[in-house]
Structures are given as C-alpha cells and as structure tokens.
C-alpha cells in the first residue's frame, strides 16, 4: 500500500495544529444571534479564544467567562456560573441564548452545570427574568478530550438538541456547514439559491464580515436565530458536508426526528461540489440549473489554465481540520498534484475508517503519509531530518514559520489565517472555492519562482 | 480576622506617622511652592511607588533626605549601594527642582530643609499614610 495512515509516533506535542474543545464550542456559539456563551473555567480559556477569533476575522465577538479563581478550583465554582448568568442577562437585555461551556478545570472538579441550569431555570429565570425569553444549555467540552473540531461538533449537536422541534413540515433542508468562513457560507448559499432550494443554514455567519458604518454602531454577529434552530426539527433532509463538524447534529436529527441525512463529502473541488449538488437535486427534486453548469464550466476553464501546466506533480503537504485537509487532498489529486503528507487533528480513532481515507489508500499511486493526532513537528521533522521535499503547503497561519524557514510557498486555508489579509472572505467550497484555491496555489508558486529565480522567465509569456 | 492581624504585623514595619494631611494648615504661598515640587515628583518619578509601605517609607526618607542635603550643598555620604541608588534619584530631583523652582535660590539652608521636610511629610501622606492602596500592608513581595 502506498498510502499509510499512522498516529503520531511521539507522545507530546511540538507546535500544535489544533486547540482544545472549548474553542470549538465558542466558535459555534458566536454563529447564533442574541447568544453570548459563558465559558466555565479560567479566564484564559475565553480571552485567548476571543483573541484568536478576532485575529482571524479582524472583528470582535462577545463571549463571557465564569472567571474561576483559586477558591472556585478548590471548593467548586458553580456559584461563579450563577453570578455570571445573572450579570450577563442583566447587562445584555437582548441576549436570549446562553450556553454554559465547560473546560478541563471545571470538568475535573466535577461542577454539575446541568443541575445548575435546572436550578437557574426554576429560580433566577422564573423570578428575575420571567418576562424574558432566555435559554440556558450545557455544553460539555473538557479540553482533554478530542480537539476544537470535536468541540464544535458537540456544540452544534447540543444547540440542535436544545432547540429542534417537530413542527409542520417546512420543506426546507438543513445545511450544517461545519467550521467554515463567511466566504464559504456565502458560496454555499449561492449554490442553494441557484438551485432554488430553501435551507436552514447552521450557522449564518456571513454577517461576521461586517462594515464600519458612519454612525459607528455596526457590530459583528452571527445571524442564526432560535427559530432557525427550532426549524431544524421539521426539515426534509440534513446535509452535513463536514463529517466531523456537524455530523453529530445530523445524527441526532435523524434519530430523534427521523430526518434523513447526508454526511460528507466536504464540497471542496469540482467533484465534491458536483456530489453535493447531485444529492441536493435528488433530495429536493429540483434540477441543477444551466447557471450552475455554466459556473462549473468557468471554474474548470480557470483551473485548466493552471492545472496541467503548473500544478501537475507539485508536492504538497496539507494540515488542519480533518474535513478540510481531506477535501483539499482530494481536490489536489484532481489537479494532478501529489499530496505527500496529510496532518489531521486530534486522536479521533474513526479517521481511519473515513471512506475518503480508505479511497486514498486504495488508489494513490505514490508514497503518501497520513498522520492523525498530528502536530507541526510531524511536518518539520520530515523536512529537516527525513528528506521530505515539498513545493507547497496548504494550511492555517500557525504553521507559517515552516513555510518561512524552509522556503516553501504556502497558501493559507482553514482557521486561523491571521497572517494574510481577508482570507476569511474567500470560499474554499463550491465551484467558486475551487477556482479560488487553484489560482491561489498557482500564484503562490509563481511568486516563489520569482523570489527564488527558479524559471522566473517562464511567465514572460503565458 | 486573620487578615487584619497580618496587616498589623506588616504595619509594625512602618509605624503610621500621619493620620491626616500634614500640610492641611500650611499657609497658601508655602503650600503652592510645595505643590510645585509634589507635582513634579508625582508626574515624573517612580521611586515613591515601591509596592510595600515599609519600602516606601525608606525610599521617601532616603531620596528626599539626600535631596535636601544636595540642595543645601552638604556632602552626601553613600556608604552602601542602596544609599547610592537613593542618591542618584536625589541628584536628578535636586537638579529639576533648581531648574523649575526658581524661588529656591532665594532661600537659606534652614528654609530649604524645612520645606523639603514638609514635602517629605506630604509625599509620605500621599503614598503611605493616606494611601488607599490596600496592598501596602501585604506581608510578602
């Protein structure tokens, strides 16, 4: 077999590719309108995640902390959550949804946030906020389990579990996008619009990309409403194209509300976008319109300009959230490139059973490595000590120094991409995303040829 | 209970000198002169803001004591590195006072000593005895 899947062979982490579960729950929470989460733990668990999100999106989002200090860590800190809920609701009159997101410390001390929520619902909410719509929900995201990816998955499921209701059939589909960018949501909604399909999108985060308005009053926020979340229980079908970032919610809807679901594939590249559209068409009975045939053609036209002349046989390493990394690898193969190394986040044992991974193992005709629970040292060590040669790196900004120190061009994709301007605005999914990705990769290689004076004259004519 | 006891222990390191502003009754012209000096210190210096009360007492006494000596032309003795460190802050302070407070030139040595003594009392009041900083009495650094 050419393609090997292995777990990182070291016990520790040198330069982590992913962060821990609460970060995923926090990123999910900001997608909901009138929602401010309370992270139950030390203050850093919030402060740094807010910073990370603001670095990526160049916007600020509100997430609160229960600010657990020493005494709370010793004697239990549920009183901190109680205060936090009361203070938050008192000062933010618009807030309707308050997830209580646990962390490693409060899971270790065993704070019963579920029990507390019942107590608060019967006490504080009934007494002090009786005339207000407020929903509290627990989200258990101990940091020593999974990663930000599973934290996101758990949070989406818990939001859906809290709100989904069986109502009159809406005829809508659910689209659970996974951990994506505003640009991706825009692209996905565009595809749905062209297909004339009505969908509930989790989460509506196009509004993360927000303006400065002359009155100085604009704020960035997610736009998924409580009604949207409730409506997920009455949909005809759930699409969760990112298996590990929404798959759990799709499962829940299937089990509890008998809503059939399609989980995966990540719609990166022409082929996976085709698959999504075909399935959408099948489920809704709506035909794929000529406009999308044309759009697809424009993408293929653009990609043809760069693929077999420039991208073919280029060796690439890809890291990041598993759905993204796998989707990118698949697309790279369609572009005639040669992914050498896939670094997938966390220790999720089920990655090896992912049909896409199986397909890679069955069909890749050159040596390729897939490492799970990976860190950046898995990449750097191979470059530094084991003779790995690369033409390109695909991944997020935390790997920037590998690109810089080993002189390998890099296209920023995923989360976070703080060291390049405006990346969150562009899609990687859909036909638009395919074009953008292929052209970004080509331009990165062009720039590299010029910087290194490596056939830099080639582009004199093109 | 335990906390206030600790405070008392810490307090023992630097007995309280003033229970009200020691310059409250100073006549306005003199008060204005001291204010000039006080303002300079509070805007430009950091030595008066060590974190603990007992250190502030030493800093204020050391630096303002040497400042007075310098202003009246006495030879300043610096037997230890800590003295020397007080002295360098005093030198800068004395220079700036001379430059900014031109009226100093008209005063005799006793008057200068007296005015710096009042300034010292005032700085002690602001930074120690009248200070609202609750950490001054913390026992450890």
């Amino acid at each position: 077999m050419n393609c090997e899947v292995k777990v990182k062979d070291r016990i520790g982490t040198i330069n982590p590719i992913f962060t821990c579960q609460p970060a995923g729950a926090q990123y999910a929470s900001i997608g909901i309108k009138d929602c401010i989460g309370i992270v139950h733990g030390g203050q850093g668990c919030v402060m740094f995640v807010r910073l990370l999100i603001s670095q990526h999106l160049k916007e600020s989002f509100e997430i609160a902390s229960s600010s657990v200090h020493e005494d709370g860590a010793v004697f239990g800190a549920l009183d901190r959550v109680e205060t936090a809920v009361e203070v938050l609701l008192s000062r933010y009159p618009h807030v309707k949804v308050v997830p209580i997101i646990s962390t490693c410390s409060t899971e270790v001390i065993g704070d019963d946030i579920d029990g507390l929520i019942t107590k608060l619902e019967e006490g504080l909410l009934a007494e002090k906020f009786a005339d207000r719509e407020v929903h509290l929900l627990p989200i258990h995201t101990p940091s020593f389990v999974g990663s930000m990816v599973s934290g996101y998955d758990v949070a989406v499921r818990d939001f859906v579990k809290k709100f989904a209701k069986k109502g009159a059939p809406t005829g809508k589909i659910n689209l659970i996008t996974g951990w994506v960018n505003p640009g991706d949501v825009k692209e996905l909604k565009h595809l749905l619009k062209e297909m004339d399909i009505d969908a509930t999108v989790l989460f509506e985060i196009e509004s993360f990309d927000s303006p400065i308005m002359p009155d100085g009053k604009a704020v960035s926020h997610g736009s998924t409403t409580i009604e949207d979340l409730q409506a997920t229980g009455s949909a005809i079908h759930t699409f969760a194209p990112n298996r590990y970032e929404g798959g759990k919610a799709a499962q829940l809807l299937e089990k509890k509300f008998k809503i059939p679901s399609t989980v995966g594939p990540t719609p990166i590249g022409i082929r996976n976008t085709d698959a999504l559209l075909k399935k959408l068409s099948q489920v809704t009975g709506k035909p794929i319109p000529v406009s999308l045939v044309r759009e697809r053609g424009i993408a293929i036209d653009a990609i043809t300009d760069v693929a077999h002349m420039f991208l073919a046989d280029k060796k690439v390493a890809i890291y990041g959230n598993p759905d993204l990394a796998i989707g990118l690898a698949e697309f790279c193969l369609d572009l005639e490139m040669k992914p050498q190394l896939l670094l997938l986040g966390d220790d999720n044992a089920s990655y090896v059973n992912d049909p896409r991974i199986k397909a890679l193992q069955d069909n890749v005709d050159y040596p390729m490595e897939i490492v799970t629970n990976a860190d950046f040292w898995d990449l750097e060590d191979r470059l530094k000590n084991k003779g790995l040669e690369l033409d390109l790196i695909l991944g997020h900004s935390k790997g920037r120094f590998i690109s810089i120190d080993y002189n390998i061009p890099m296209v920023r994709v995923g989360f976070p991409t703080y060291d390049r301007a405006g990346m969150f605005r562009n899609p990687v999914v859909g036909y638009g995303g395919a074009t953008w990705l292929a052209e970004q990769m080509a331009n990165a290689l062009f720039n590299d040829m010029e910087v290194k004076k490596n056939k830099e004259w080639l582009l004199n004519v093109w | 209970m335990a906390k206030s006891k600790e405070k008392n222990v810490a307090r023992a390191n630097y007995p309280k000198l003033y229970d009200h502003d020691p310059l409250a009754d100073v006549e306005p012209e003199l008060r204005a002169r001291i204010s000039e000096m006080e303002t300079y210190i509070m805007k430009n210096c950091l030595w008066q803001f060590n974190s603990r009360g007992w250190d502030r007492r030493k800093q204020n006494a050391g630096i303002l004591g040497k400042t007075a000596q310098l202003l009246v032309g006495e030879v300043v003795d610096n037997p230890t590195p800590l003295d020397k460190c007080h002295w360098v802050d005093a030198v800068l302070l004395a220079r700036n006072f001379k430059e900014r407070c031109l009226w100093l030139a008209d005063l005799g040595a006793d008057e200068i000593r007296s005015i710096i003594e009042k300034l010292h009392a005032r700085i002690d009041w602001l930074t120690i005895d009248g200070s609202l900083n609750e950490e001054l009495t913390v026992q450890n650094y």
């Binding site: 016990i11 490693c104 940091s143 060590d381 | -």
Partner: protein
C-alpha cells in the same frame, strides 16, 4: 476624585469602586480604584489567566529554552504566536512551543509519566537546546502532578540539562498578574544564584521587566553598551536561561515593567542587597533621566550625556513635528498594566495629546496610583474594564485614538475610533529616542488616516461634497496650522522600517576597566 458609575454597570454596584475621575485639586488619598480583586463573572472582562501571565508573558521571551506546558493542548496553542517578543537567535522561542498533551486517561491515572516522556522527547527533538521551562496548567494542578519531582529525575539522568518548574495554573489569581508573581518568586527561589557569571565590566546591571517587544530590549541594550555597562541579564526579553541564573551578581537592578517584575527586584534587594532603580524607557525626558541615573550610579554620567545629546539632536525635531500636529488629540490609554503610567505623562508632554482615560486589565492599585498621578484632571481611570463599560466610555469621551489590545481594538474600529496595539505595538520598537518618534508616527498615521475621515461620511446624505480624488494626511493634519509651521522644512519620521538588524551588527568601544578584574582563586 469621585468614583465613577457606569450606566451599564448599575446592576453590579461593586463595579463603582473600580473607576474614578480625578477631579480638580484631588489627589490619591481621595479615591483610588479598587484593583487586583476577583473578577465579577459574566462581565466580559478582558483579563487573562495566571498560566498565561507566567508562561506567555514572562517565561517565553527567554530565547534558548524549550517551553513546555503540562496540560491539554489548548493552553499551549492559544498562547502561541500571539506576541511579538523577538530574539537575536532566529526567534526560537516564538517558533517552538511544547505541550504534554494531557488526555482523559491521564486525568484519571495521573500524567507524571507522560510528562517525563515529553521532556525527554522534546530534548531529543532539539539536541542543541539544553534548557527547559515547564508550566503547570489548570488540569494538571487539579490532578496534583508533582512536576518538580519529574524535573529532578530528568536532571539527575541528564546532567547537561537544566529545568525550571513553574506552578501557576490558570485559576491562580484574579488575572495574569497572579502568574507574573508566581514565576518571579519561583525563578528567584529555584534558579538565581546557580550560575556564576563572567564579569567583564566595572558596571554590571540586570535589566528587569523588559520583554523585547519588537526589539525594545535591543534598543535599550545599545545605550547600555555605549556606556560600557555589562547587562548581565534581561528579565526576560531576548535573554538566555543561564544569564538569568546569575542575576545575583549585578550591581544594580534597572526595573522597567514594575508590574510584572518588581517582586524579583524587591527580593534581590533584600537577599543580595542589589538596589532597585525604576526607569522609563519611553519618552525623551524620562529615558534621558533614566540613562543619567544609571550613569550617575556608576560615576559615568558623561557617557550618558553624550548619548542623550546625540540622540536628542537626531530625533527631537521629528518628534516635535508630530507634537505640533497631535496637539490636543484625545487618547484612551488602555493597556494591560505598566504602560498606563509609562506613557500617560510622557505622551502628553512630548506629543501634545491629552489622555482622557486610562485603564488596566491586570494591574494593581499601585499601577493606578502611578497612572492617576501622571494623568491630568478629569481623566477616567478604570480597573478591570469590561466590554460595555469601554463602549460607554468611548461614546462619552469621544477619543481620537485608543491604545489597547488587538481584540478591544476591533471594538473601537467599529465605533470609528482608530486603534494602536499597546501590547505588541503597530510598527515598533517604541522604546528609545527613535522608537518614541515611531510611536508618534503611528499615532499620527492612525489619527489622520484619510480612510478614517471617509468612514464618517454617510454617502446617502446630501451634504457630502465629492470632487477630491484623494486626500493626504498632511492636508488633514496641517489644515489648522500656522503658515510658518506648514512651510517648515522639518518632516516626520525618517528612520528605517526595522532598526533592529543594524543594532545587531554594531560593535562597541572597549572601555578601560577602573578596577582590575579579580583573579580567579
């Protein structure tokens, strides 16, 4: 100086004690904000945790060290690559971070074995690095791992390595300041005095509380070297681990950020009799006076004066160019801790701006004493600020610019207030005579950005006169200036994009020793 009550905080009355406005004729004994108290949960405070205060702020700037956090991976990831403390060894400490990657099974069965394996693995991956710091996190503090015992074990097995252990879990204190304190004391107790330095000068200092943000430390070291002073160690920016073990041999501790490192200086004063001299590296007068004092201490004031004269002649005119154009601009000075007092007076005096508010995220009352003293009357001082209070303050104070962190800066952006990064700087370094001009330049560029001017315009309204193809900063900043100022040939900043590489190339004159070096016995 009455306490200030925010409309948005009326429902949490204890907040009232955390903000004051300095009134006419009032002083520190009238009111001082409460400080360094437990955060009120749910306020959306800006504070971080004690782990980050220890590891991220103070530990990691040490440049030749494996910085390993013992816990789940998040603490490490989240605090990695969010600061700009550079070093002259190719930024090893910025590039590499290590997590023991604690999982559920370790929480149940203990993670000491995991830690040991991690330590060995990390040293094996970087065979040239022989020094390590290990930081506790919330999870490993709660399960009670004995990190020191593991470190001792490894040091016994590998005598060539040295390991420092810092027990400062995230919950250890109201803010990151708890971690500053813990790592100060831990370093002092574990490491100071364990290496004997090579003394090469009659004048030996430690430079304490300086983290080399965008090269600040290297700028200051340049001055010290020009004076013939040996800087034994810098705590901790751009410093080696072993140099910090020899701190006990300095003649003087020069303290910059008292907030994060005064504990160490105070203890060194008590234990080793090394005096503590507080200085300001920001602002021409304050920096000049600081160099003078260090010169005086060693009897080499002339060397300081020579530097001050040269640097002032070079940079003061450019600073004045900005001062003329920034006159009266209102500033919210909202940093983390020490900069509220480092900058408050100096920017008003030397750049002409007016500080309308100071705040401190993690400072103590001592920081507020300095900050409030150095502000003018009417300035709003806030301890442990939160999101809504900041917005209310910006709406009422209407600042022209705000100096704060990245994320609060995004809030300000939406409110149409230009922001400069007070922690990591925009285009620093800001220390030194030249750096101070760079700071003024960045303020000017923010305040007079043509884009900022455009952001105020509502294109749907009728009163917007188009017709200009562009506007320059000069057109905006010089509109109200007298003719002679406009006609002056002086300009703003003329230095390089990055002044640090030149400093690294520099050689320094050898000064003759006054005292013959003691012969080793």
């Amino acid at each position: 100086m009455p306490y200030h009550e925010f409309e948005v905080s009326k429902c949490i009355p204890e907040r009232k004690m955390h903000a004051v406005v300095k009134g006419p004729g009032e002083d520190l004994t009238h009111a001082l904000p409460k400080g360094y108290l437990n955060t009120i949960p749910g306020t959306i405070s800006e504070r971080g945790c004690a782990y980050c205060g220890a590891k991220h702020v103070i530990g990691t700037p040490m440049k030749d060290v494996i910085h390993l956090s013992h816990g789940p991976v998040g603490c490490t990831y989240d605090t990695w690559q969010t600061k700009r403390y550079i070093s002259d060894n190719n930024n090893f400490q910025l590039k590499y971070t290590f997590a023991s990657d604690v999982k559920e099974k370790h929480i149940v069965f203990g993670a000491e074995k995991l830690l040991k394996q991690n330590i060995l693995e990390a040293f094996d991956a970087f065979p040239d690095i022989k020094r390590m710091t290990i930081y506790q996190t919330c999870a490993t503090a709660l399960i009670g791992d004995d990190m020191s015992a593991i470190a001792e074990e490894v040091m016994a097995e590998r005598p060539e390595v040295d390991i420092f252990v810092c027990n400062s879990p995230g919950f250890g204190g109201p803010s990151q300041s708890g971690g500053h304190h813990k790592i100060n004391i831990a370093w002092l107790n574990q490491k100071v005095g364990t290496v004997e330095p090579d003394i090469t000068s009659d004048y030996v200092i430690n430079y304490v509380g300086e983290y080399n943000i965008q090269g600040d430390q290297e700028v200051m070291l340049d001055f010290f070297r020009r004076m013939g002073i040996q800087v034994l160690s810098t705590f901790t920016g751009n410093s080696t681990y072993d140099s910090l073990r020899s701190m006990h041999r300095a003649h003087l501790n020069v303290l910059e950020c008292a907030r994060s490192a005064e504990y160490l200086c105070d203890e060194l004063r008590v234990r080793y009799g090394i005096p503590r001299l507080d200085i300001d590296g920001f602002g021409h007068k304050a920096l000049g006076d600081s160099l003078r004092k260090i010169g005086l201490f060693f009897g080499i004031e002339d060397r300081a004066e020579a530097i001050i004269a040269e640097e002032t002649a070079r940079w003061k005119p450019e600073l004045d160019w900005y001062k003329e154009r920034l006159q009266g601009k209102k500033v919210c000075l909202w940093p983390g801790g020490s900069k509220l007092w480092h900058w408050a007076h100096a920017i008003q005096e030397e750049m002409g701006v007016k500080v309308v508010s100071v705040y401190t995220k993690f400072g103590h009352q001592g920081d507020m004493e300095k900050g409030v003293s150095r502000c003018g009357e009417g300035a709003l001082a806030i301890d442990d600020p939160n999101e809504l209070e900041n917005q209310e303050a910006m709406l009422t104070l209407k600042p022209d610019v705000i100096f704060t962190g990245k994320r609060p800066g995004e809030v300000a952006k939406k409110m149409r207030v230009p922001y400069l990064n007070a922690h990591a700087y925009h285009n620093g370094p800001y220390k030194g005579f030249e750096g101070w001009v760079r700071f003024a330049r960045d303020i000017y560029n923010a305040v007079y950005s043509p884009m900022h001017q455009l952001s105020a315009i509502d294109i749907s309204k009728d009163d917007y006169e188009t017709g200009k193809g562009f506007v320059t900063r000069r057109m905006l900043s010089d509109a109200g200036l007298p003719e002679e100022a406009k006609a002056s040939p002086l300009t703003g900043y003329t230095g390089k994009f990055d002044p640090i590489p030149d400093l690294r190339q520099k050689t320094y004159p050898a000064f003759e020793r006054r005292v013959a070096p003691a012969v080793a016995e």
